[in-house]
Homo-oligomer: 327 residues x 2
Amino acid sequence: MAKSKISLIQELLSQTTASPFKNIISDNQEYVFTGSHKLLLEGTDFDLVYTPLNHLGYKAALSAFGPLYAKGFTPHSLSVRIGMSKKIGITQLEELWKGISAALKEHSAEYIELDLSSSLTGLTISLSSQGKQKRETFVQHNSCKSGDLLCLTGSLGAAYLGLQILEREKRLFEERGVQPQLEKYKPILRAFLNPELDKTLPDLMTSAGIFPSEGDFVINGLADSVKSICGRNNLGAKIFMNRIPVFSAAMEVAEELNIDPMTAAMNGGEDYRILFAIPQSQYEAVQKELPQLDIVGHLCDISAGTKFITPDGSELELKAQAWNETE
Amino acid sequence: MAKSKISLIQELLSQTTASPFKNIISDNQEYVFTGSHKLLLEGTDFDLVYTPLNHLGYKAALSAFGPLYAKGFTPHSLSVRIGMSKKIGITQLEELWKGISAALKEHSAEYIELDLSSSLTGLTISLSSQGKQKRETFVQHNSCKSGDLLCLTGSLGAAYLGLQILEREKRLFEERGVQPQLEKYKPILRAFLNPELDKTLPDLMTSAGIFPSEGDFVINGLADSVKSICGRNNLGAKIFMNRIPVFSAAMEVAEELNIDPMTAAMNGGEDYRILFAIPQSQYEAVQKELPQLDIVGHLCDISAGTKFITPDGSELELKAQAWNETE
């Protein structure tokens, strides 16, 4: 590097709307705070062949904000540590930073911290975020119980299918030099490369008097989030197949790729949605005030297990990769 | 893996004294909280050839706790994300975890979170920690000013020299098959592989009525910490060479390696010490109540720059790697 690390960091920080932080202390009695922590590794979590760096930066920041929203918090600060491989020069770093900055601005995060180191292997991005919530509206999560509704903030499966298209086109290019034809896949590629996270939801819910009893960021498929909520709270769940919102443009692509769209939704990942548990008593408020939420099932006693109910009423065991006994 | 990721994580978590956390919220009005974030990359931050995994885990946790102590906080929670390379099987992971668990126990951290993913390249460890402090004794840092004393919690340089010995022995073994002879280097190897972080300091300081105005975890050499404190607060500093505590056993090794021990102290790194700024008015209290602190210099107006004063009174520019204009 021609510049010192410190001056490069200062330059990047000056490009954001968030203030740099070094000694951020949660001493504001008006708010309660929570944290979220994420590690993204090249080759495992992203592929630079088809992921533009500004999209990667944006998605990385969102993946640290998502778990905050899932707990009813809004982003307060973000700390980013980047291990830069040889492929990543200052220009590439600036692209990555553009995406991170866009997410900071869009989600009104107030403070940002950055540190850079060199990575002998792949690009590595570690993120630690803090979220805040007004103390007066704060409801302790983990208070959910059998009967609570499981509500989802958007459709599923498109991002996973987008990823499969990009993987296929990469293979075709590498093996046979075929130029990628991506025009017709735009909507599902957008779902993968440019996911959206609804920042208005915490306020909308508070105004509507809807207080989730639990929440999980849907990043590894819906099944994983259902299992996570059940695992944390010692509960079971029923998810109804005909209630799962599958992204409409995904159906055709799923057929082309010979992938079951329901599998993409349940186990695909990269959806950037939130699964909330909401007390049954708030059913009417959800229907009336938050029609954008899909009620996909409900929590049960642990003895009922975690089940996936098909339209004909059959109960299947809900499967999620990290939760299975053998992988 | 024969076990699912979830059951492996649960098994590891059950081995610590800290409770697992999923939804940890800083809602305790008795305390204020702060965070620290660290990314450790194989090849850049550690070398598995000569770093036993339990030592690596212990050091990794301490490197996340150090910045908390530097701000006057004690560890509350730790979140660890590990990218496991192919070399790291369950046995190796358990060794790494032993070290992390030991640090958690020793530093009375109450909550722990763990996530595992696979790394196509090297072992990657990301840590995000939270520290707490009683609201009644909390003093906002960044209140330091010209004249404040710069006080150090222990000797410097040994860890860096220990690292150089290990690097040399690794080279000799790889190039000529020479078996490492490490017996005589024990004290300095211990400084590198098994650093100590004094957990009693925040309480000792509070009891003695000593309230630092700033603090920095000394992990990249003393010069870097001095520059960090000056940079954050728009101040200059003077550091006196004859006040720098160099680890006694290090002198001989420094000569053997042809390394200036003062360079090892100022720029070596891996010391796991803390540099506090303490108001001048507390000078006598420091001398009397905390003789383990070395007063190595003081803060100045920014116009004075950051200077290193030799015993004959010459003023040299303080140099720290990340802060120089060209590297």
